[in-house]
């Protein structure tokens, strides 16, 4: 019985003890996350956070924003595409860059990340200079985001602090209306001014190449204000807007020049210099890594080159319109009677602006590819290597539907299987753009001399003959309107396939002029056997044959439509400012729809 008592006592005690509260069980912490205070008191860690801001916002090739709006080259005369924009069937909810719901990855999600970064850096204990540089870079990208929105829709709600949406009361305060377009541009300029005030003209460490500089912030401000001055936003041609744009771009040029920027000596090699490239004002870095988590490859290269020279291929093929747009070697337009070179479609490649050869690959052109410096491209229809008796397109797979390819910035050395891992950096703002922005804004304020100066600089670098008058083929004594056209034309050629053409035409309200009622064209080049060049041996011998002879004697050229389904139909009025998606308005009824989409918000205010 003694045992039982003992046991009872033991169990009783044990049970009492066990039932005693022990909330230590609940004393847990989040082992997979880190408090903000640790990050923003350490410059290395804060830079890792800034790095995320960069990755969220740096544009892809063609300046694509990575949200909604895709590759703009097909939305112009540069390249073929089939979509609702070209068809004229865009609906009010189709342009979703504004966002259609809460997300950390749409424009407002990215803006929140930036706003949180700025808040947290401010609250941290880093030295003021470090803080300023971190915040300045973030402000640049906040301006970048608002610019992405304003050019599509006009004014948008401006959010500069991370909104608190938890709880009904806090949430009620987040139903913000749209700011005016003027306010939005002003906010962009203000952020860029703040950034320019604190950012260095040049980052001392080469490992920092690619970070935003003072010059980049100023150059981007120049671009943004040039949009604000363009007819899309400035139909009344308000001179003050041009002046502001001019001042901004001029300041950018001054800063950039002081920090070693200039036009790169080579129009094609400028794409392949990374650190210290004098022409690169704002770049998006890509690398050659193939690791799943470490790679950030430039997919443009692999998707643009001929399919059989990489693993994807055949996109971004130039239209015949682009091929024909290039000036002749003396800077005159093809067919211009004053040119010393005659243009003929049969030998479209002859005596053209040297930028033509560096941008467009055509049937028979020599195009160093896959490490083969003497590679010649063949896109004709004729006897194929595999079966000389069959007449077909000689391209081994996925032939170009215009017979052309874009060769700008395509790596000459990457092998077939490495084409998908190319690391060529994307240059979003080239020094050439800064110059042309200066020219255009100057033209806006009737300073046509400045326009001539910059156009000549661009043409000189391109390798156009200066001509006896030293005008590089430019018409002397142009009117303001002619000068605007000349600058737009220069931009078309200089920035071909750089994602700029669509936006230029749109801000100039010229998309309908250029596209509507038309079908973009390509060439069909057909081989014609002669006794000198018999069909049976052609595929074996063609790489050694003279191109001019071949085009004269052995190729028949016919044009064809690449827009087969419909005539292009860009609806100027509604597309000048796209509709805010209905889902975004449902989500926040304080947002007003644009007048161009049956709403009451005037994007010209």
């Amino acid at each position: 019985m003694k045992y039982i008592s003992l046991a009872t006592l033991g169990l009783g005690l044990g049970a009492t003890f066990l039932l005693g509260s022990c909330e230590q069980v609940l004393d847990k912490q989040n082992l997979s996350a880190i408090e903000g205070s640790l990050i923003y008191n350490d410059s290395t860690l804060a830079n890792l956070s800034l790095n995320y801001v960069y990755e969220q916002n740096l544009p892809n090739w063609f300046g694509q924003s990575t949200i909604g709006f895709g590759n703009p080259t097909g939305l112009s005369d540069e390249s073929f595409s089939d979509n609702a924009f070209m068809q004229g069937t865009v609906q009010q909810s189709d342009v979703t860059d504004f966002g259609t719901g809460l997300s950390k990855d749409n424009n407002y999600g990215k803006i929140r990340t930036i706003n949180m970064f700025i808040r947290d850096v401010r609250a941290g204990s880093l030295p003021t200079g470090t803080k300023n540089r971190l915040i300045g870079q973030a402000q640049f990208f906040r301006a970048w985001r608002y610019f992405d929105l304003v050019r599509l829709y006009g004014g948008v709600p401006l959010v500069f602090t991370p909104l608190n949406g938890v709880g009904n009361e806090a949430r009620d305060l987040t139903y913000l209306p749209r700011n005016t377009t003027t306010q939005t541009f002003a906010a962009i300029a203000a952020d860029l001014d703040s950034a320019a005030a604190v950012l260095p003209g040049k980052w001392a460490n080469s490992a920092d190449w690619g970070h935003i500089t003072k010059g980049a912030a100023q150059a981007f401000k120049g671009r943004a204000l040039l949009y604000a001055a363009s007819p899309q936003f400035n139909p009344s041609d308000n001179a003050a807007k041009w002046q502001a744009a001019y001042d901004a771009s001029l300041a950018a040029r001054t800063t950039l020049l002081a920090n070693g920027a200039r036009l790169h000596t080579s129009y094609d090699q400028l794409w392949f210099q990374e650190n210290g490239n004098p022409e690169a004002v704002m770049v998006t870095g890509y690398n050659t890594s193939s690791g799943d988590q470490t790679r950030k490859n430039n997919s443009y290269d692999n998707s643009t080159r001929p399919a059989y020279t990489g693993t994807n291929g055949g996109s971004n093929v130039p239209t015949l319109e682009m091929v024909q747009a290039y000036p002749m070697l003396d800077g005159k337009k093809p067919g211009d009677a004053t040119s010393k070179y005659t243009y003929s479609l049969q030998q479209f490649y002859k005596n053209r602006d040297p930028r033509f050869e560096k941008t467009i690959a055509y049937n028979g052109s020599t195009w160093p590819l896959n490490g083969n410096t003497g590679y010649r491209l063949w896109t004709y229809v004729g006897p194929t290597a595999s079966n000389p008796n069959v007449i077909a397109n000689v391209e081994p797979s996925k032939p170009s539907n215009t017979s052309f390819y874009t060769r700008k910035a395509i790596s000459p050395t990457a092998s077939v299987s490495d084409a998908m891992y190319v690391g060529t950096d994307w240059i979003e703002i080239r020094y050439a753009e800064v110059l042309l922005n200066v020219a255009e804004a100057a033209c806006g304020i009737n300073n046509l001399t400045e326009g001539y100066t910059q156009l000549k600089a661009i043409r000189a670098r391109a390798g156009i003959e200066a001509g006896t008058d030293g005008n590089y083929g430019l018409k002397p004594g142009m009117t303001r309107a002619e000068m605007f056209d000349a600058i737009l034309y220069e931009r078309q050629i200089e920035f071909a396939f750089e994602g700029k053409r669509f936006w230029d035409l749109r801000r100039w309200d010229k998309l309908d002029d250029v596209l509507n009622g038309k079908k973009r064209k390509g060439l069909t080049i057909t081989f014609k056997a002669t006794t000198a060049v018999p069909a049976a041996t052609f595929t074996a011998t063609r790489d050694g044959l003279n191109l001019d002879n071949l085009y004269t004697n052995n190729f028949t050229i016919t044009t064809k439509d690449v827009d087969t389904k419909y005539n292009l139909n860009w609806r100027e009025a509604p597309y000048r400012f796209f509709g805010i998606p209905q889902a975004a308005i449902d989500n926040n009824p304080k947002l007003l729809q644009n007048t161009t989409w049956n709403g009451s918000f005037d994007p010209l205010q």
Binding site: Y3, L11, L48, R112, P162, Q293, A392, N598
Partner: protein, 1070 residues
């Protein structure tokens, strides 16, 4: 002592101290009791002259029943019958009362009254009123139950060869939904109880119930890792009876008790089956010829010239007519499943034991993938001394599954099916032995299934668990009926995931045919495709314990029966997951990191969590007539901020057994039993992510920008939880349930009716639509939503005996459920429009366009346009071959109203086309017929009330690299204006929901069927075997009705099809 261990980072800190105390207490106890136990057995009491007693137990047909437990009433002394139904027993006095019990038979008490032999005939128990039903932390009899608790008839599921326990439950209980589990091997089914709703979206529990195995909260994976042969019972708590689980019980609780040893001679039994699993049907896709013609018709309408190389020329079409490759059929084959379960049990009145081992293997219908599972269990229950019982059990399992690693395109386990179905059938797998190049790019279309299969790329998962449970129970001597109990359960789970992907080569050919569409010619180039090119390991462990200390009181005072339970429960979990990856796999090397040459990455995720609860329960009944139960639970969870951690969850339920009332007993003859019951519980869930209340950041890979050349992407810090909600707390569900249990006609007919109403409020809701997107981050869950759920469940059972040899049972049930959303996340601009779901069911029906027809000819278009000027469908002019819809309204105005019909079809022209989208009515029908030793049973089900549609992936257009279902072959062209499908070119006009795509949602079929035959004991006894049963089992035997022409009746055509398994099996008892 517990509080003296301050280490915060050692999650087990609190455990160690408390456990140590518990162990010290119990070992002191055990030692003391063991020392004291011996004299009791040896002669602590005056020894009686034992009376030899012998008996035989038979069933109604006079067949002996082996394994019947025979106990002396009021003790745990007993034995069990042998193969001939015979038992021998030495009784202390010869005047005891014996209790005979066996599963499926009514328990019978017989007074010995000095006899020395006895023949007992046990009656089969259909009504099962005396069935012991496992409820939370205890048991009750069916007769005195006051909650809505469904139980599984384990006999019904014992032969099923499916790979997860959850899949066996399909069609077994009303109000318990089981979906999936019978298609891709290794994939378990999902269980839901009574149509639950979850608005948080970030909680790990989702809409699933809580799983409790032997009183310990466990994971769904742990539940699925059980074999039915080691399970004694499964109960589902559907109403406030789950309140004893407080917070996590809000979405129902699945309770499992595992088998324990039974007093008696050792019994060994084996159960096994082998079967073949094949698709109920494979999807039908367009042949190569049909596909090419479809593409030509598409391109022709698109204006593509016949000379364009996209067009398939006549010579190519002719070739395809003769040369077609059905990729899926090449890869698919019937699979083999097998299951083996061995268990043994036995014991004396002092010790009982149980041990089992099971093995289950399923091959897949594709080579090189499979899943298998081992489980084991051993338990012993020891009566250490009078009043002191201890139990120890060890169980565990090993589950393996192996699937393909399909990394091209977005990683998805269905990529094998998709690739095989989408690959055009005009493409051969190999030309001259070389794998063909299918498409450019790195995406999914380029995927060559057979090369990946050959290169042995895999994703494998290996889960091992070890569970140890120790408990001790002591009847406190100072108060009759008071017991103290300690249970400690330790669960250790390891999983090892591995992915292996390589590069492989395919060959691009120069191609034949006028437009080079025929695979053939010379090799143009070798293309290396990258299927991941990695070895990736993700080992993890989870370490979890649960400690409960109980005080239990149970006593009878005359007709008053009182029982009470008070306990605490604490649980801590610590997990650590690492992911390590190396790229650059050497082709032909070994599938591990010794054959990889590229860069490494490794990450680690560690978590800890805890739960602390205090629980009390009081049961009272008067003469088994008036029943009352009250429970209360206080729960604390680490998912909420410290000041909001605790929630209190009370519940009450009551029952009245009317049939026990004298006025009823004497006057109503047909009714044997009638009980009404009701329950009310205040439950809740903590179904949101942990640390929802803290803003924090985490490191991420693959999201860094590249600076300064071609260096690797760096790590970045990004917000892990951008917005925190410190005020989030338990959400609330008030559950009401009313029920009737009745038995009629001499217990042959049983009826249970339940009606329920769940009022869920403060529901943790991740708001999205009703918050402006300007906020720019996902909102943390808030206590916001209100949804009322309701439904009814009716079960009817009939137990008939036609002759002595022929009997049948029929269990059937009906269930209906729906809900009403009182307050949910709605964009402000949609309030008071047709899209506003407030006040509606969460199933508002199918949202789509009002289908008017298909334009067949130009004349039809002209006639239509004559009356509908400027009619456009999503901006397109009407054309022959288009589907067209009714214009319901115009664009939305600035004030939020919709404009009048504007003559064009836009996305404003949708409406709810049917009242419901999913089936809300279901009937289960589970008959069983027994003739002598032959039994035939089936599980059948019908559901209806919704509206099914052709899935989006079947509606979307085919491309040159992606095939679509066969029905697309009959599409509109100028020459085929009466086609069943529209012209493929106008994608935007047909790839939307409308009545054109409606199919019947009625589903009726035989889910399982079983024929079993027990070999007469006279025969089996000759070979010293007590019982032998052979059976044939079929799952998904057939569906009465399939509304789809191109696939089986459930699931999308491009996912693994439902399998029909036919298996033979054998049960042997020794």
């Amino acid at each position: 002592m517990a509080h003296s261990l301050p280490s915060r980072r050692r999650p087990a800190g609190a455990t160690h101290s408390r456990l140590a105390a518990a162990l010290i207490a119990s070992s002191a106890l055990l030692g003391a009791q063991a020392a004291q136990a011996a004299p009791v057995a040896g002669g602590g009491k005056p020894a009686n002259v034992l009376v030899a007693f012998k008996g035989r137990v038979v069933d109604a047909k006079g067949q002996p029943i082996p394994g019947v437990t025979v106990l002396i009433k009021g003790t745990k002394t007993g034995t069990s019958t042998d193969a001939n139904g015979i038992f021998n027993f030495n009784l202390p006095t010869g005047k005891e009362t014996l209790i005979f019990s066996f599963v499926g038979y009514k328990t019978q008490e017989v007074a010995v009254n000095g006899r020395s032999t006895l023949d007992v005939s046990l009656e089969e128990d259909a009504a099962a009123l005396d069935d012991v039903v496992v409820v939370g932390y205890g048991t009750q009899t069916r007769a005195t139950l006051t909650g809505a608790v469904a139980t599984v008839d384990m006999k019904q599921i014992q032969d099923l060869p499916v790979g997860s326990l959850s899949a066996t439950l399909q069609g077994q209980m009303p109000g318990v939904g089981v979906s999936g589990g019978t298609s891709r091997p290794g994939q378990p089914a999902q269980i839901t109880v009574r149509n639950p709703n979850s608005l948080a979206k970030d909680g790990p529990q989702g809409v699933g119930p809580l799983y409790v195995i032997d009183n310990v909260v466990r994971s769904q994976d742990d539940f699925n890792l059980l074999d039915q042969s080691e399970v004694e019972s499964i109960s589902v708590l559907k109403d406030a009876s789950a309140a004893i689980y407080g917070a996590r019980g809000g979405q129902g609780v699945i309770l499992v008790t595992t088998k324990r040893g039974k007093i008696g001679a050792p019994r060994l039994s084996y159960s096994g089956s082998v079967g073949v699993a094949d698709a109920t049907r494979l999807p039908s896709m367009m042949s190569g010829l049909q596909h090419a013609q479809y593409l030509n018709d598409y391109n022709t309408v698109a204006g593509v010239a016949p000379s364009n190389s996209a067009i398939y020329t006549q010579d190519e079409l002719d070739y395809f007519a003769q040369n077609n490759t059905n990729w899926l059929k090449e890869a698919w084959k019937p699979a083999v499943t097998q299951r083996h379960a061995l268990n043994m049990s036995g014991g004396t009145d002092r010790v009982t034991y149980f041990a089992s081992a099971t093995y289950n293997k399923q091959n897949a219908n594709f080579d090189n993938i499979n899943s298998d599972r081992w489980t084991y269990r051993a338990s012993a229950d020891v009566k250490v001394a009078r009043g002191l019982n201890a139990a120890l059990s060890v169980s565990g399992g090993l589950g393996n599954s192996r699937m393909y690693f399909l990394k091209q395109g977005q990683e998805n386990q269905e990529n094998d099916m998709r690739s095989l179905l989408y690959t055009p059938q005009f493409a051969p797998m190999y030309v001259n032995g070389l794998p063909v190049y299918l498409s450019s790019g790195t995406g999914f279309d380029a995927f060559h299934f057979f090369e990946v299969q050959k290169s042995d790329n895999f994703t494998s998962q290996r889960n091992t668990t070890l569970n140890v449970q120790a408990s001790a129970e002591y009847e406190l001597p100072f108060l009759k009926g008071l017991r103290a109990r300690v249970v400690f359960n330790k669960n250790m789970a390891n999983s090892f995931g591995k992915q292996y992907g390589t590069k492989y080569n395919v060959y691009q050919l120069t191609m034949l045919g006028d437009h080079k569409h025929i695979y053939g010619g010379d090799v143009l180039k070798t293309v290396t495709l990258n299927n991941g090119d990695r070895v990736r390991l993700n080992p993890s462990y989870s370490d979890n314990y649960q400690l409960n200390g109980y005080l239990n009181y149970d006593n009878q005072f005359g007709k008053h029966h009182v029982s009470a339970l008070a306990f605490f429960e604490q649980q801590e979990t610590h997990t650590d997951l690492t992911t390590a990856m190396q790229e650059g796999v050497i082709i032909g090397g070994l599938p591990n990191m010794s054959s990889a040459t590229g860069g490494y990455t490794a990450t680690e995720v560690e978590t800890e969590s805890g739960l602390l609860s205090y629980v009390g329960r009081l049961n009272y009944d008067y003469a088994n007539k008036y029943l009352l139960e009250f429970t209360i639970r206080r729960d604390g969870s680490t998912r909420f901020a410290p000041e909001y951690r605790f929630g209190v969850f009370p519940a009450v339920s009551a029952g009245w057994v009317i049939s026990e009332e004298p006025f009823f007993k004497n006057s109503v003859r047909l009714v044997d039993f009638l009980k009404v019951r009701g329950s009310l519980g205040f439950l809740g869930t903590d179904n949101t992510k942990s640390y929802n209340w803290q803003t924090n950041y985490s490191l991420a890979t693959g999201k860094g920008a590249v600076f300064g050349g071609n260096g690797d992407r760096p790590l970045v810090f990004m917000a892990n939880n951008a917005l925190a909600n410190r005020a989030a707390r338990w959400d609330n569900i008030t559950k009401y349930n009313a029920g009737i249990d009745a038995r009629f006609l001499d217990n042959r007919l049983s009826l249970t009716v339940d009606g329920y109403y769940d009022h869920a409020y403060n529901m943790l809701t991740a708001l999205s639509g009703s918050a402006p997107l300007l906020i720019g981050a996902a909102l943390p869950s808030e206590n916001f939503g209100i949804i009322n759920g309701f439904g009814t469940e009716v079960s009817v059972g009939w137990n008939g005996r036609i002759t002595n040899d022929l009997s049948f049972r029929l269990n059937s049930f009906f269930s209906w459920n729906d809900n009403k959303q009182v307050r949910i996340d709605v964009p402000r601009g949609q309030l008071n429009t047709f899209l506003d779901p407030t006040g509606q069911s969460s199933d508002q029906g199918v949202l789509g366009y009002r289908y008017l027809g298909m334009f067949r000819t130009d004349d039809e278009v002209k006639a239509f346009v004559a009356t509908h000027k400027d009619y456009k469908i999503f901006g397109q002019d009407p054309k022959p071959g288009m589907l067209y819809y009714e214009d319901i309204r115009g664009l939305k105005n600035a004030d939020g109203t919709y404009g009048a019909p504007d003559g064009v079809i836009t996305d404003a022209d949708v409406e709810y086309l049917t009242p419901k989208a999913s089936n809300h009515y279901s009937v289960g029908f589970n008959p069983s017929i027994t003739y002598k030793s032959l039994n035939i049973s089936a599980t059948m089900g019908i559901s209806w009330g919704g509206q099914a549609t052709v899935e989006g992936s079947a509606r979307s257009r085919a491309t040159a690299t992606a095939n679509r279902p066969e029905f697309w072959a009959d599409h509109w062209t100028k020459d085929n204006p009466n086609a069943s499908m529209p012209a493929p070119y106008y994608v935007a006009t047909y790839d939307v929901t409308s009545a054109f795509w409606f199919r019947s949602s009625l589903s009726a079929g035989v889910r399982n069927a079983n024929v079993s035959y027990t070999i007469p004991t006279a025969l089996t006894n000759r070979i010293s075997v007590s019982s032998v049963r052979v059976f044939f089992q079929a799952t998904n035997l057939f569906n009465f009705f399939n509304p789809y022409s191109y696939k089986d009746y459930s699931g999308a055509y491009d996912s693994y099809p439902t399998l029909r398994t036919l298996s033979f099996g054998l049960n042997v008892g020794l």
